[in-house]
């Protein structure tokens, strides 16, 4: 897979050490730092000693058949080839297999991933830079050799560059036939490898980039060029308007359980101990996911638990010990199956508020969190806004009046005072109008149906179903502010609560503050993706908002404010 990247995170290093993924970018990066000799034609291939066929096969367990097929398709030295399309699920070793194969063959190639080259222009320039042996550095202000945005320019430049490369490779072959030397690129074919092609589908709906890439071989009309496409998605998901000339497909299936075991057993510190560990956990986890990357993250924390009772990690466990360890681990397997995808936070408790905020987002997206505490800082005003947005998204607008009247009615006066102090007059008016309209709706939705209980039950089910399908609703800004006003006025009459809240100190300033402060908080919530800002409604013209927070999260926030959220939540029917 093309998941080479930041080596700082633990996941990456484990993976890298497992598959020892050769990364052309990083290897050339190393070259850059140590010597700044101009690039030669040989830098298009792997510079170091080539690996033997047996090493190649053993370095990638479970991929023997696929590698042999690839070698067949690449063929002997200097044989032309049809474009090849390699596909298979994520984390099935596509990129590693291809790159290792080229390390074995030592043939010149150009590698581009659509992850790093995220638009056509960068992709084109990256290919050209590599072919023209251009290195972006300070002296050329990190610019590319050629500026090229359109496919038409790209084809012209590419043809030129390829002719040069092939010519110099040919000359090189003639020279090297007399004396063989290590570190030379073999053959006179150049291979272009495009990784993560599935991302290119999203680039631009109207653009012809994919048909163009698939047809590149026919357009170039150069037998010395081999094209290899790597993709997560199968060829049938690439069909476009009038189709394209299909490349030769090569399929990488997911790993089987045995193969996974081989991969995971590649270099643990204590193989015996680790294999007994795998014997316990691999089978249940295989039922959930077969992706190596996901399994590794899950296993790293489980293995620590597994080793807890041991003093000496180098021990060779006997049957008795295994049983003991298993009984120690067993209670942890079930829960961790349900949080396979938890991102382990290695942040210290003094982590800055900023990173904490990100964790909060991760949690909102779906990482389970066992504790009831929210572990990020947020001003009380923002928390109230979050709750208001949640309520506005979940509750039907028609119920606002009744929800907030039951408790808010008593301190109506207070609200008015408060509202008058800080809000613009038209919003107050709006609030009143809102209540009038909603009274009528309340009658229709709540009072009328309750006459016949059966009907209401049916309706309740339908409403529930609808809620499941539709998800959180959208709401205009005015509604959010109205609810905000009501809630704040309610919580204001509970004096003990303010002091304990997170924003206790600033409490005074924001309750009496300006509307603009509240709007500022809202916009930062939008930026953090807690609330999403949708397109404007064509009739009303104003932006509509939608809460992106899960119920569990909202309840947690409410709890931290001691706000009785459940009381205000409408549960259908």
């Amino acid at each position: 897979m093309g998941d080479e990247g930041n080596p700082q995170t633990p996941r990456r290093t484990t993976r890298a050490s497992l598959s020892s993924t050769p990364n052309p970018k990083s290897s050339t990066g190393k070259l850059k730092s140590c010597n700044l000799l101009p690039l030669t034609i040989h830098d298009l291939a792997y510079g170091d000693e080539s690996i033997s066929f047996n090493d190649l096969i053993s370095s990638l367990p479970g991929r023997r058949a696929q590698i042999i097929e690839l070698l067949h398709l690449l063929g002997p030295l200097d044989s032309p080839m049809f474009p090849v399309f390699v596909y298979g699920g994520a984390s099935t070793g596509k990129t590693s297999s291809i790159l290792q194969t080229f390390k074995h063959l030592k043939r010149p190639f150009v590698y581009c991933s659509c992850i790093t080259c995220y638009n056509p222009r960068i992709l084109f320039e990256s290919v050209l830079n590599q072919l023209l042996l251009h290195r972006r550095n300070e002296s050329n202000r990190y610019s590319s050799t050629k500026r090229c945005e359109r496919p038409s320019d790209f084809v012209n430049l590419l043809q030129e560059a390829l002719h040069n490369v092939v010519d110099s490779l040919k000359g090189n072959v003639e020279k090297s036939s007399s004396k063989k030397s290590v570190g030379r690129a073999r053959g006179k074919m150049v291979y272009l490898i495009f990784d993560n092609l599935e991302l290119a589908r999203e680039w631009d709906k109207s653009s012809n980039i994919l048909p163009f890439l698939f047809k590149l071989y026919d357009i170039l009309k150069m037998p010395e060029v081999g094209l290899i496409f790597l993709s997560n998605a199968s060829p049938d998901t690439y069909y476009s308007d009038t189709g394209y000339v299909e490349p030769v497909p090569v399929y990488f299936p997911d790993y089987t359980e045995d193969e996974l075991c081989q991969i995971l057993m590649k270099n643990p510190k204590n193989p015996k101990l680790y294999s007994s560990f795998l014997g316990v956990v691999l089978r249940p986890f295989c039922r959930v996911t077969r992706r190596v990357d996901e399994l590794l993250t899950a296993f790293s924390s489980l293995y620590q638990i597994y080793c807890e009772p041991l003093d000496d990690l180098g021990i060779v466990p006997n049957e008795d010990m295994k049983r003991k360890l298993f009984s120690h681990l067993q209670p942890h397997i079930g829960p961790s199956l349900n949080e396979t995808f938890k991102v382990e936070s290695r942040l210290s408790s003094e982590a800055s508020a900023n990173t904490n905020k990100w964790k909060g987002i991760a949690k909102k997206v779906g990482v389970s969190e066992s504790s009831n505490e929210i572990d990020f800082h947020m001003s009380a005003c923002a928390k109230y806004l979050l709750i208001c947005a949640f309520l506005a998204s979940r509750n039907p607008a028609t119920l606002d009046a009744s929800m907030f009247d039951s408790t808010g009615g008593s301190n109506n006066k207070k609200r008015k005072r408060f509202a008058g102090g800080s809000l613009l007059a038209f919003e107050l008016l709006l609030l009143l109008m809102h209540q009038l309209v909603s009274l009528k709706n309340l009658y229709e939705t709540v009072i009328l149906p309750s006459w016949s209980s059966e009907k209401s039950k049916e309706k309740k089910e339908i409403a529930e179903q609808e809620l499941l399908l539709k998800g959180p609703g959208t709401f205009p800004l005015e509604r959010l502010l109205a609810i905000f006003q009501c809630i704040v006025s309610v919580s204001e009459c509970l004096p003990d609560e303010e002091a304990q809240g997170d924003g206790g100190l600033e409490g005074e300033s924001w309750t009496n503050g300006l509307l603009s402060d509240v709007l500022l908080e809202l916009s930062s919530l939008c930026n953090a993706n807690f609330i999403s800002k949708g397109g404007s409604c064509p009739l009303e013209g104003a932006n509509r908002y939608r809460s992106m927070v899960s119920e569990a999260m909202a309840l947690k926030v409410a709890k931290s404010l001691k706000f009785p959220l459940a009381k205000y939540l409408y549960r259908g029917g």
Partner: protein, 445 residues
């Protein structure tokens, strides 16, 4: 490179041959009623009689439209040297008028050893092209415009097509416009003003017939006797190949290949894969090579084609059987159990004829199933969500529309991309599939 394995040399020769797009079409150059002869007649008349012409080459992808055109052009360049100038455009690259005109100007400059200015405006370029057309006409030099992916040039205002065809209305110019398209209705896409200036000569390119197929196979695979290869090897290879070609089992393979896609290109890819799998030790193409090639090359059948495929299975050799399992089914067999559960739940929801389904309704169904059958595989919501996302990534399910980007995945409506039949097949093929899933699926149907 000195003494080498003759088998390897032979393989390289075959690969070079197959990768050359024009090679296999050379056998069609002799017959008088072939597209080659017709096209050559049209184009050579324009060269010799100094008239303007236009033609459309239509036909499905991979039937050799461009290859035949190139052969014709090559022959004409050989027969009438220095009187032909070829300008090649591709709809994928030059569908924009401005860009196309620039490219024409660039190629004209190269052909005529002129200096091309990148900064020239659209107006400059169009005047230059018209001037060049006139000059060439006066010098009795024919300009051939090849417009590949012709249908893409008809998007937009068609200014390029109009100005080209309009310039050809004058007596002085001498040019041929050849459009190549895989859309059979390409001429209907033209605007009225363009269509009226276009001569409606259309050449239809079709996949090869059975007799042609046999000819092509021999033409492409037999090794030449007069080459650097050792003659004994060539003789042994050719004898073995002819034997294989006349084998009934081989004919079955070719039949199943053509049932999917009978175009030249598909055949070429099949032959390429066979040659790739050739055993370099013995150096012969065996029936097994063709079988493995078929299974590796076979396109993913469309859902409705699946039934046809299964019928073929019974007649075709056993080796081809694997090929008939669509990639989707093969993919599915490697899904984790949880993903299968989600698929089955989706299928059940489909069976209930619900209008829209999304992750939440699937979860509800999953919970119901769990409650009524007490399955062992019950996972938390976020694990299911991840499995759901895996399915989306594998394109076994897809989002119904691309609207509502602001919504999170859980709420966006999805659709199952495989039929219940395929799901059944997949479950059967999956050894460790829990029996409960079969039961659930049966209940749904």
């Amino acid at each position: 490179m000195g003494v080498e394995n003759p088998a390897e040399q032979g393989q390289i020769l075959l690969r070079t041959r197959l990768c050359n797009p024009n090679f296999i079409y050379t056998i069609f150059s002799d017959s008088p009623d072939s597209n080659y002869s017709k096209l050559k007649y049209i184009m050579s008349s324009s060269v010799t009689e100094a008239c303007n012409n236009s033609a459309l080459l239509l036909g499905p992808r991979g039937c050799g439209k461009v290859a035949i055109l190139e052969m014709v052009i090559k022959d004409l360049l050989h027969e009438y040297p220095d009187t032909i100038c070829v300008i090649k455009l591709n709809g994928l690259l030059h569908s924009e008028d401005n860009c196309a005109l620039k490219e024409i100007a660039r190629q004209l400059c190269i052909e005529n050893q002129l200096v091309f200015s990148k900064m020239a405006s659209f107006d400059d370029n169009s005047q230059f092209v018209i001037a060049m057309l006139r000059e060439c006409g006066l010098a009795h030099k024919t300009i051939i415009f090849v417009l590949d992916e012709f249908d893409l040039f008809t998007q937009g205002k068609q200014r390029l097509l109009y100005s080209l065809l309009d310039a050809m209305q004058s007596v002085t110019s001498q040019a041929v416009v050849v459009g190549v398209s895989c859309r059979l209705d390409a001429d209907q896409l033209l605007e009225k003003r363009v269509r009226s200036r276009f001569s409606h000569r259309k050449l239809l390119f079709l996949p090869p017939s059975r007799e042609d197929l046999q000819k092509i196979l021999q033409h492409a695979l037999l090794l030449p006797t007069e080459s650097s290869l050792p003659p004994q090897y060539v003789a042994a290879y050719n004898k073995k190949l002819l034997n294989t070609l006349s084998d009934d089992k081989f004919k079955d393979i070719i039949d199943s290949l053509c049932n999917f896609d009978a175009t030249f290109n598909h055949l070429l890819r099949f032959l390429f894969a066979s040659v790739c799998h050739m055993d370099t030790k013995s150096g012969f193409l065996s029936l097994d090579n063709f079988k493995t090639a078929l299974s590796s090359i076979q396109r993913q059948p469309k859902l409705e084609a699946l039934q046809v495929v299964l019928d073929i299975v019974t007649t075709v050799v056993k080796g081809a059987l694997k090929a008939c399992l669509s990639p989707e089914m093969r993919r599915k067999t490697y899904c984790s159990i949880l993903e299968l559960y989600i698929l089955v739940c989706l299928r059940r929801l489909e069976g209930k004829e619900q209008e829209t389904t999304n992750f939440n309704s699937v979860m509800k169904e999953y919970k119901d199933v769990h409650n009524s059958f007490q399955t062992t595989d019950y996972y938390a919501r976020n694990v299911c969500l991840r499995a759901f996302e895996h399915l989306l990534q594998r394109q076994l399910i897809s989002l119904v529309d691309n609207r509502g980007h602001s919504q999170s995945v859980e709420f966006r409506p999805v659709r199952l991309l495989i039929s219940s039949h395929e799901l059944h097949q997949g479950l059967k093929a999956y050894r460790s599939c829990p029996a409960i899933l079969h039961k659930l699926l049966d209940l749904a149907v």
